[in-house]
Symmetry: C2
Subunit: 656 residues, 2 copies
């Protein structure tokens, strides 16, 4: 058993990954510490109540009662499954995984008790043969016959992930044994010539099986992950007669149209696509499969260069929660599911470990601070399922989860516990060790290290670009390399070692300092962090002729409530050569820096017009327009106050 690591994604000793997550990884202060505090004290603490209210826990109790045939066992005709979806169990597993990562970092009695109670509930619901999925146990249908929409393997994957977390956090085998029995059952059912020779409509089990293999060194699980990864893409999935799904999404929806190795585009349901690629990256790490790695690099680049929002969000299309076409990135109708941002981080982090390249952690940073974090309300109790980059003052949304209003819980509650598990595990995305030393991928005050070199980081990031790294422990005489990621957004920086400016080796996004470190050595990185205007790619139609305000890793937006006289941000353009002013506002939105930007009013709409499309010649000429001072706030903090219009992309004044 491998128990020296208390976070997710832990390549085995045989893995080809040059980088390993740092074994010492604690966030101790600053921006993310506060978000993690809210996550632990509010989101995670209130999780069991939410899961009780939504019926998820009742499903396990009912399944356990059915199994033991006790007095409270449900009847065959009314088995009492609660919730609208086949994957309700996964909400429980994701909360559990999150709670375990949190406990591994910061022990807490009440949370630990909640965890053990839920673990027992899950264990009690498992069938003797290892099967565990309360929807089908409670009469939802015949197990393993509705692979398209049944989500049995998806839920199994989340159970396995939770079990790995529980084991790494507590050392206990209690849930790990449940996971093993389920994995063995799956192994007995799935495969060429076995009962079922296809895959799950929703990937997740793949990465889970690799992690299970890593945890208990059982090669059958790696082989099973490989089977699911290679079997996909051959058109074996179908909508079938699965209940409630009379529309056929087509094979692309669940990435069953072409094998990963042959794919040249990320397509279909964004979360499905990215969970799948995360699993493939895990497999490539464990097997050294270079063809698979090349395919993953190609698909990652396709995603980043043609299908990713400025915020790092992905999956632009409401219809089927899908990646759209290349360059189809509408700001207003952005779907940009919170879970898809998380999935992107999962994929990118695995690519960072597999390749050692900084670009992957650049995207992780951008996604963390923007597309991901916007999904979590500042209060820890409300959530966004979709994360548009533009909301109009009078916006038409159909009732349900996909609104731009923060919601306490969702009918399809995939996102909240997914946010919880990423925030709980966040320290493990900050730093890696490798043969030469330590790399800092993200900047947050805390303690990071392993293999003899441990450093303390102090920073006000993302509000300030100064990062101070002090060596706490170092091998006595061995030269080691400390690598600091130079963020792609940063145009100017200085690096000092013990007060002396050095060049540092700059290579492909890493600044490196190599020396025989001794405790007390201080490396200081100053990242210039002026507010800046960013342009869209030339082929992104939806935001052509616009610019966005950014500062450091943060994307900014205009919220109506911050503008003079609650001016609707849809009525202004930004003056491109005006200066941008940064202001510290400790009282606002938990403490943010705002950016002031000079705008000009768009011409008023003509209420008497019969047709709004003017001849180009007359539209191109414009009168001088009134100037106005606009205030931008970090995008992640939007929609935490009164409802109103919001824009990330601002039309450029004087461009017609």
């Amino acid at each position: 058993m491998n128990t020296d690591h208390t976070g997710p994604v832990h390549p085995s000793a045989r893995a080809v990954s040059p980088l390993r997550p740092a074994s010492v990884a604690h966030i101790e202060g600053g921006f993310w510490a506060e978000r993690r505090r809210v996550n632990a004290q509010i989101s995670l603490a209130e999780g069991p109540a939410r899961l009780e209210q939504a019926g998820n826990l009742a499903n396990f109790r009912a399944a356990a009662a059915l199994r033991t045939g006790g007095a409270n066992a449900p009847s065959a005709s009314d088995t009492g499954f609660s919730g609208d979806f086949q994957f309700q169990d996964s909400d429980v597993y994701k909360w559990l995984e999150a709670a375990c990562w949190q406990l591994a970092d910061t022990p807490a009695e009440a949370l630990a008790a909640d965890v053990e109670a839920v673990v027992e509930l899950i264990a009690a619901a498992q069938r003797e043969d290892g099967y565990l999925h309360t929807y089908y146990q409670l009469g939802g249908g015949v197990p393993w016959t509705e692979l398209g929409w049944g989500h049995e393997l998806y839920c199994a994957g989340h159970l396995i992930q939770a079990a790995v977390a529980h084991h790494r956090a507590t050392g206990s085998d209690r849930l790990l044994d449940v996971a093993r029995r389920l994995a063995d059952h799956i192994d007995s059912v799935f495969g060429p010539g076995k009962q079922v020779d296809t895959v799950c409509g929703h990937p997740e089990v793949e990465t889970a099986l690799v992690e299970l293999h890593r945890t208990i060194d059982e090669k059958r699980y790696l082989d099973l992950a490989r089977y699911f990864l290679e079997r996909r893409g051959h058109g074996t999935l179908s909508s079938g007669a699965d209940r409630g799904h009379d529309r056929d999404p087509g094979p692309e929806y669940w990435q069953d149209h072409t094998p990963i190795r042959a794919a040249d585009e990320v397509t279909g349901h964004a979360v499905r696509q990215l969970y799948l690629l995360a699993g493939a990256a895990d497999l490539a790490a464990e097997t050294g499969d270079t063809e698979l790695r090349t395919a993953l690099e190609r698909l990652w680049r396709d995603m980043v260069t043609t299908k990713t929002y400025l915020t790092g969000a992905v999956g632009s299309r409401h219809d089927w929660e899908a990646f759209g076409d290349a360059h189809e990135l509408p700001a207003d109708r952005a779907y940009a599911e919170t879970c898809a941002a998380i999935a992107s981080i999962h994929f990118s982090w695995r690519m960072a470990l597999l390749t050692g390249e900084a670009r992957y952690s650049d995207l992780v940073e951008r996604t963390l601070f923007n597309g991901f974090l916007a999904g979590a309300g500042l209060d820890g109790r409300t959530w966004l399922y979709v994360n548009p980059l533009h909301r109009r003052a009078r916006s038409h949304e159909r009732p349900g989860d996909q609104t731009a209003h923060r919601t306490p819980w969702f009918r399809c509650a995939c996102c909240p516990p997914n946010v919880m598990r990423l925030l709980a595990a966040l320290p493990h995305y900050m730093a890696t060790t490798d043969d030469s030393g330590l790399r800092l991928h993200q900047y947050a005050t805390g303690l990071y290290g392993g293999d003899g070199l441990t450093v303390r980081v102090t920073t006000e990031y993302p509000w300030d670009g100064t990062v101070t790294v002090t060596v706490e422990h170092a091998p006595s005489t061995l030269p080691r390399t400390l690598s600091l990621r130079l963020p792609a957004w940063c145009a100017d920086h200085t690096l000092t070692v013990n007060g002396t400016t050095v060049e540092g080796e700059a290579e492909a996004g890493w600044l490196t300092v190599t020396r025989a470190f001794t405790p007390g050595d201080t490396v200081r990185l100053d990242l210039a962090m002026p507010a800046r205007l960013t342009a869209p790619p030339a082929r992104v139609d939806a935001v052509r002729g616009c610019a966005a305000v950014e500062r450091g890793p943060l994307v900014y937006c205009l919220e109506q409530t911050d503008q003079p006289d609650r001016l609707d941000p849809d009525g202004v353009a930004v003056v491109p050569d005006a200066s941008l002013t940064v202001r510290s506002r400790p009282e606002l939105l938990g403490g943010v820096n705002t950016v002031s930007v000079t705008g000009s009013l768009l011409p008023a709409e003509d209420p008497s017009a019969d047709w709004p499309y003017p001849p180009y010649a007359s539209a191109a000429s414009g009168e001088p327009r009134e100037s106005v001072e606009l205030t931008a706030v970090p995008y992640y903090a939007w929609a935490n106050r009164e409802a109103g219009a919001m824009r990330v992309w601002l039309p450029l004044a004087g461009r017609g």
Copy 2:
């Protein structure tokens, strides 16, 4: 009975409408004559076979057998309803209505025989109590209990419209009696204190009941239409437990959130909204209700100025086939259902009759030539359900009706017979008579008139702007006014009467010539028709920084197949000050004028880039780019050749 009119929308003698559709209305040549020939000889002629194949006609046979209890009667457990939707009957009714308008214009033996056979089939299926809806008759559920999704009144409306057309075309009461019995049944069921006190999820019966009232002068039907129109907007509809609809669209979807009189925005499902407003316009015409008229004017303006595509298409959102927010008009993900364009024409035409204002016919023209006509393949056998203004070379579409590929028939086949009935009735949208004389709303070679003044129009419109109007019959000495619509797109025109240039009275879009006409008098209107560049409204984010090519009433587009080396139109910008060259291409797409426009290549994408959003300062500078000659074709003709990219809106070169 009122039988002097052989087209749809015939205000009664009591109606306040200043304009009435001209009683003489025949398209005899030119653009629309060819499209109507294809409609009659191919689309309408093949309609019965399509309806047979899709099972729609079988449903009527099964319902008739069930009623008479013959040997072929379906069993209660397997009643054999064919098709996926509750509104399958309406496809039959719409084809029938179309066929009747066509027969009224041009008798044809085979089509007449088809019509009478279908009429008998329908009559045989009607229950003794007047009820008629094969889905519920064949075991689909309990009639009048699923108003949200049941579509019973919607189908009833289409039956009534077909019956009115059959009566006006043939003089027969056979189908009209069926319609009366159904209307009487509805009248006995619906109303305050009656069995059902709510409305249908899909409007249509309202305008049908007004037309029935107009046809047989029965005030109860007008009152029933009024009841449905006024009852709506009070939140009485619900999704309920209707089968297959577990998602609640919210009251706005079917315009049940606010009464028409109070609404200030067109919202929700576009076809539902516009069929409803067409019915309200009919009611306002018959009752002189000025409050209702004011509301309709307000809603029409909201639609035109904030929610209408350049093509006249409406209903931008795939999600729930809805109007989006104001200014939410994406070119790529435009839903723009063909039926919504037809519904917009229905609404606008009624407003033209009600107000006498030219703006409504301006929109009818634009929609006819672009957003509507694109839905009909040049071959008369293939259709588009959705009508985007941009299709990428590699476009991701889910399987089903909503693709940008022409399809022989749809699972939800609302659009094809809707196109057929508009093309069949088209002559009746061309001209009106009023107290002072004759107005020409649209320009097509043919004979138009009534009340003593009849003219022959000769024109090559829309390829050429010359319209020659020759008086065929005129009252001997009475001065009459001939009014010609001056299209809003036209910046320059000349008007001559018998060879002498006159000013004409120009008022609010009408050019008028008043005199005592005599046969042979010739009025000639020359509309300058240069190709032109058009700009988008400042607040339409999706196409900011672009321009579109137009000529006359036609919107143009770039199709990949016409460009040098099949250049992808997504890779070019248009040079705004370059000249546009019009070329006649009789061999192309049934004969069109193309427009050549100078473009420049967008910078190539950088395949090695890790992040595609550049700093504004570096993006704004651009190198000189290669120039290229592009060929635009009329938008209505797109997607009739090999699949490929298409763009209406072209980025402006040198705008970053």
